[in-house]
């Protein structure tokens, strides 16, 4: 029962008909590759030194380029402006993006994944038609779930929302909200019933970040760049029509949102790691790097290379299970989360040891270069902490998959 609210993604006349080849995997891959190679080269010309200051512009530029060829939200259902791109074609796109080192869609993570997952399942027709088409035009969303006192124990969140006629009045504080300083909208979890048990008194909202009383204060991250922020909320008035799901049903809605982190996002990271490792190795061979003479190091590289490959297979299994809605999906999600994020740390650490002192020198703008070993290493903590920390994942594995009793 979906209402058509957007035209299917346009097949582009401008030389790059990618979606039109969706039926033929090889042709689709080659079309995507040609477009990507051209566009990434153009990106390098447009933003030769990738600084923190032009991050937002680069991301918007990239989204606009994708939109031109219908590749902004091709994985969405056509009823919502997507192209119903099959899973195998999504995999091809992710592989090709990683191959050419296309900019990751960081700024749009929530817009591209969490928003469609949540709204398609729970949104009203008005919410869908108002918000979904904006994503391909570059509207940035952020996620306001975590609070200073509600991290792993998210359900204990305390930001209050009180009904006042056709509005709710919200007071509280959110934290670690990625890219929220750039965001136009926020998906927000609040407490509406402090008396109910903690999972039962939560309500989910779509919040306009320009509403009076919303104040964003960026926080600098470990590598020096400020990509997440605190959000202070003081008497913020949110219209009732911006509520998603019923009052006090927010926890259930939030589960749908969080499940959006399970698929192509992790897949993308795994594919990128492959090319980072291959490039690192090829560069070392070209430069006759010292670590190649140390058998302990070359063995470790071989071991990590195998782990990377194993992880990529696991990611493919996850994609298949996601599509089939298989009962084993939870299990695979947990393994993928732990293995993929831990591997990135191990590879980063390896690269740092291999390069030695040289990589302790901080080159100007290094924080904007994801392939730089220090960045591979130190941003990997984002993966192991966020999205359900790896310790929480091990709890889930022990309790829900191995059936060990709660502590």
């Amino acid at each position: 029962m979906t209402t058509v609210i957007a035209e299917p993604a346009a097949k582009q006349p401008g030389g790059h008909d990618i979606l039109g080849k969706a039926r033929n995997p090889q042709a689709f891959r080659m079309a995507a590759r040609n477009w990507l190679e051209e566009t990434v080269a153009a990106e390098k010309r447009a933003f030769p030194d990738r600084t923190a200051d032009d991050f937002y512009k680069r991301q918007q530029w990239w989204m606009a380029e994708r939109n031109k060829v219908g590749m902004a939200t091709p994985h969405w259902p056509s009823a919502y402006g997507g192209a119903d791109l099959s899973l195998s074609n999504q995999v091809i796109v992710a592989e090709e993006m990683a191959r050419v080192g296309a900019p990751p869609m960081s700024l749009f993570t929530v817009s591209l994944n969490h928003i469609p997952a949540t709204l398609i399942r729970w949104g009203t027709p008005e919410q869908k038609s108002r918000h979904l088409p904006g994503v391909s035009k570059g509207v940035v969303w952020c996620q306001g779930f975590s609070e200073p006192n509600a991290g792993s124990d998210l359900a204990s969140l305390g930001t209050r929302a009180v009904r006042d006629g056709d509005h709710y009045i919200v007071n509280g504080q959110k934290i670690w909200s990625s890219y929220s300083m750039y965001a136009a909208h926020c998906i927000l979890l609040t407490r509406t019933d402090p008396q109910a048990s903690k999972h039962k008194g939560i309500t989910y909202f779509l919040m306009d970040m320009k509403t009076p009383g919303v104040e964003v204060r960026p926080l600098r991250q470990v590598n020096g760049s400020a990509k997440f922020a605190e959000i202070f909320l003081t008497d913020v008035r949110i219209p009732v029509e911006n509520r998603v799901g019923e009052e006090n049903q927010g926890w259930t809605v939030a589960q749908t949102t969080l499940s959006a982190e399970r698929g192509i996002l992790a897949f993308d990271a795994g594919e990128r790691l492959r090319y980072q490792m291959e490039a690192f190795h090829a560069d070392a061979l070209r430069a006759d790097a010292a670590w190649l003479q140390d058998p302990e190091m070359t063995r470790e590289f071989a071991r990590l290379f195998a782990e990377m490959q194993g992880c990529r297979r696991l990611l493919r299994r996850l994609m298949r299970e996601n599509e089939a809605n298989a009962a084993s999906t939870l299990e695979t999600v947990v393994y993928v989360k732990v293995i993929n994020t831990t591997l990135k740390r191990k590879v980063g650490d390896f690269m740092l040891r291999a390069q030695g002192l040289q990589d302790q020198f901080h080159l100007h703008g290094a924080e904007e270069r994801p392939d730089q070993p220090m960045n591979v290493y130190i941003t990997s903590f984002g993966g192991t902490i966020a999205g359900g920390s790896n310790e929480i994942m091990l709890n889930v594995l022990a309790e829900r998959i191995l059936g060990m009793p709660k502590s």
Partner: protein
């Protein structure tokens, strides 16, 4: 997304598991360990009767036609049961022999194996010392072989004027004599062959290392399968034990410190399984990187098995420290597995060389078939 082939594999796996649960239960394995039964021979007979030995052989030739993947299923189940018997060396040797084309004799030998009439020995760690071969006769004793007491033949590494080669020799009173070596792991048999003056049945030149690599590739995959099967089994047993065992008025399984240790075992197992699956696929497709992935899978799988078996003993407490309990049987199999087919340093050295070669040639080794 299961295919008919996956269904066949799953059915084969289930039927092997069922048979092993009844014929190779833990009590019987302990009995074998203490020399009280002939489980190795009994299992071999069962395997022959049920056609397991032909799992990798084409259907046209009377086998089950499940290829490398089918053999992998068998090795995983044998590992899970800590099964003794001539399986590893015989099945690996047979796979290798069946690829030595051009000789009607090898085909006959493979047929004898599948029919259960012949078991084989192979080098424990191929690539080691080679026995001199002078004027068609062997001079000396072989390097250690993984070899059942019943072995009728063995593949050994030899060296003649042309360089290294692999030779098939007959074992017996009138030919090469088997000198057994006692192992800590009593589920496996190792020995040397005294081959003074013996003429091999077959000599396969290996100056370029291709024939030896093929043997090692099959060996690596078999050991890896055995290891992941075994690791899953003993880890599962440990979870069950922790749920059962009460201390401080609650099951040990409710303690988070122990949950995390167990969860990490399963993470290690899944990683090794994925690497093995990749290696199996590369072998099935005869990819140029098949050897590389087999070596890496063997190293990961035996390390994961060791990691798991080591901690499982600790998590069983005093019970785990006893001869009567299963932990030491698995742990000793894990320790031997690290050495089988070559130690893991050697495995990864070879893999690192192959990776560097491919990178220099501008070839990627990391493509995954759609």
């Amino acid at each position: 997304m299961t295919t008919d082939f996956d269904d066949l594999l799953a059915a084969f796996s289930e039927s092997v598991s069922e048979v092993l649960r009844s014929k190779c239960d833990r009590r019987t394995v302990h009995g074998y360990y203490d020399g009280k039964n002939d489980l190795d021979a009994a299992l071999w007979l069962t395997a022959v009767e049920l056609g397991w030995l032909g799992v990798g052989v084409d259907e046209a030739a009377g086998g089950l036609g499940l290829g490398v993947a089918g053999l992998d299923v068998l090795h995983r189940q044998l590992g899970a049961a800590a099964a003794p018997g001539p399986f590893l060396s015989t099945l690996v040797g047979a796979q290798w022999l069946s690829r030595q084309a051009g000789s009607g004799e090898t085909a006959a030998v493979v047929q004898q194996i599948v029919a259960g009439e012949l078991t084989l020995g192979i080098p424990v760690a191929p690539g080691g010392a080679a026995t001199p071969l002078r004027a068609g006769r062997l001079a000396g004793t072989s390097a250690p072989l993984l070899i059942p007491a019943s072995a009728g033949m063995a593949v050994i590494e030899v060296e003649n004027e042309a360089g290294r080669a692999l030779a098939l020799v007959a074992v017996g009173e009138k030919s090469a004599r088997l000198e057994g070596i006692e192992l800590w792991d009593r589920t496996r048999r190792v020995g040397r062959l005294a081959c003074e003056g013996v003429a091999p049945l077959l000599v396969v030149p290996d100056a370029d290392g291709a024939a030896g690599n093929l043997l090692r590739r099959y060996f690596a995959l078999a050991v890896a399968g055995d290891c992941v099967g075994a690791a899953r089994a003993i880890a599962g047993q440990t979870v069950a034990y922790l749920k059962d065992r009460q201390q401080f008025g609650r099951p040990l399984a409710s303690l988070q410190a122990l949950k995390h240790r167990v969860a990490k075992m399963f993470v290690a197992i899944v990683e090794a399984e994925q690497q093995l699956e990749h290696a199996i696929e590369a072998a099935s497709l005869e990819s140029p990187s098949a050897v590389l992935w087999a070596f890496l899978a063997k190293a990961s799988a035996s390390e994961a098995f060791y990691f798991v078996a080591d901690d499982c003993l600790q998590l069983h407490g005093g019970v785990g420290f006893t001869w009567e309990f299963d932990c030491h049987i698995f742990l000793k199999r894990a320790l031997l597995a690290r050495e089988l087919c070559g130690d893991n340093r050697a495995m990864r050295n070879l893999a690192a060389e192959a990776l560097a070669l491919a990178a220099r040639e501008g070839r990627s080794t990391a493509d995954i078939a759609a």
